[in-house]
Subunit: 342 residues, 2 copies
Amino acid sequence: MKLQNDLFLRTAKGEITERTPVWLMRQAGRILPEYRAVRKQAGDFITLAKTPEMAAEVTIQPVDILGVDAAIIFSDILVIPEAMGLPYEMVEKKGPLFPKVVQSKQDIDNLKIADPETDLGYVLEAIDIVKRELNGRVPLIGFAGAPFTILCYMVEGQGSKTFSKAKKMLYTQPALAHTLLQKITDSTISYLKAQINHGADLVQVFDSWAGILSPQQYKTFSLPYIKQICDAITETPVTVFAKGAYFARKDIGKLDCQVVGLDWNMDIRESRRMIKNKTLQGNLDPCVLYGSNRSIESHTKKMLKSFGSQYHIANLGHGVYPDTDPDKVKCFIETVKAYQHS
Amino acid sequence: MKLQNDLFLRTAKGEITERTPVWLMRQAGRILPEYRAVRKQAGDFITLAKTPEMAAEVTIQPVDILGVDAAIIFSDILVIPEAMGLPYEMVEKKGPLFPKVVQSKQDIDNLKIADPETDLGYVLEAIDIVKRELNGRVPLIGFAGAPFTILCYMVEGQGSKTFSKAKKMLYTQPALAHTLLQKITDSTISYLKAQINHGADLVQVFDSWAGILSPQQYKTFSLPYIKQICDAITETPVTVFAKGAYFARKDIGKLDCQVVGLDWNMDIRESRRMIKNKTLQGNLDPCVLYGSNRSIESHTKKMLKSFGSQYHIANLGHGVYPDTDPDKVKCFIETVKAYQHS
């Protein structure tokens, strides 16, 4: 089906476009009262993510309500560990918790390579519904966690400031870590390809914990697996967002991906120099959206000017924070849409 | 009193020295069973920090047990908010919690500029005891949090991954934030000067949450206050450690401080280029100490080689993690001490 608004996709592919497209990470989420209503109906986060009709509904909400140029399927990066045999719970105000964690070769042997159609059918079904209901209005983004970030949760068992248990494995049992990373990578590639088969127009890889690794560890334990994913996905453009991995920008720039996400710490001009011939995505500080409309407009315009008129997808440098006023999000989106590059 | 081992201080001052000095952030802490014994006797962390004899005892332990080239006074950066009128609790496994937080001009007006001799006498008394008992064996490091990091806790009220409430103040009430930052800065300067009067041989400023700010916000809300501190402290060398603020290295290099701390994400050669004519401190990934002795030696030697034979104080890139084996810490320290630069 031909897309009515394919601005996001054309920009991702490096085409010259009439304006900068815009969407927000975590746009399908707690900022919208309409989301909170569905979430309440579902009872809990995981039920919401596993109920295709509901997941589809919250995926489309920001398209209708906020007017973004792309939808992103409502899901969670931790569906991959679960599909591999490591289920998790979502503890209110604490985040994810894995009752079992990976510690040994035996634990890894017990994991399976995820089969998306059987193990992650609920995501694919949600994508089917979204595609049907979007009816070509905007493109749909699929996603997965980067293998290193997924390993972090599988070994640590929960969120952490340092992920020191996960990093311990890299230093004490590097071969084990590589075995696990490969198994996650194989699962992730199948999963992303399935999302694309069901209609995802672009896929984004989130390396949310990239920033806790030293540059050398990042080259060893994260980049090679993201590279495998980029090399394997030839059907659609790929976005790589490695939060905090400023030190790896040159290397990420050499990957066979089309878009690179920047967080709000990363200087725009410096990133352009380091990442050539790719579209950049980002990178407003999410806290800007706490300010007045005037302040949001001023920060957004400054960012747009700095990225320039092409090869940029406007976004925040991180997921939108849950306590952000949707009207402030609209102000951000409308500022991008109205901006005239001089 | 003349120091018997002043290697750390001479290196901090930029003198050519016979070998690289070494100490660890959080060396006086949970890694040592001897510390845990005193901590148990005290009952809780805050009592330990507020009992000068005990604080002095755990300050000296790593000098005796680990053989580090400097002691650092056992205390907490949050004694400053408390001295200003905002007390906190330390919640087991959760970290600091402030029952009251700063939200308004009135809240700031209610805070006082800390008077170190009356409000922080217990730290100064601990310094007196440490100096007497160290008897010139090694220098003593005093410290304080950077004003922005202290603001984070005073506004957020507890630890956070994003400190979005604290950052919200910067975007919505910048004048209020500056008033608070100035009051913290004034308190911090008095406090550091008092530490020096009581015998601290160098003071370190920890900007632990520097990395959550955008480069522009860092220039506006953190650097100017660290600059005030550096300009005010003329009695001893000053170390600035702004964790995560890789984007501010050039600006930090221009401060009137003698030592700059690096975290493990920061490339050593690049940092040398950005920070000229200063001693650098750091920057081994704390997780390296989970590895085998052989691996620790190899990573440590690689780091030493990269920093070169001068203007370097060996340390980790962050505080040593509490579950680190003291024997592994010794391996790190001994590797530094034995290293011959070729």
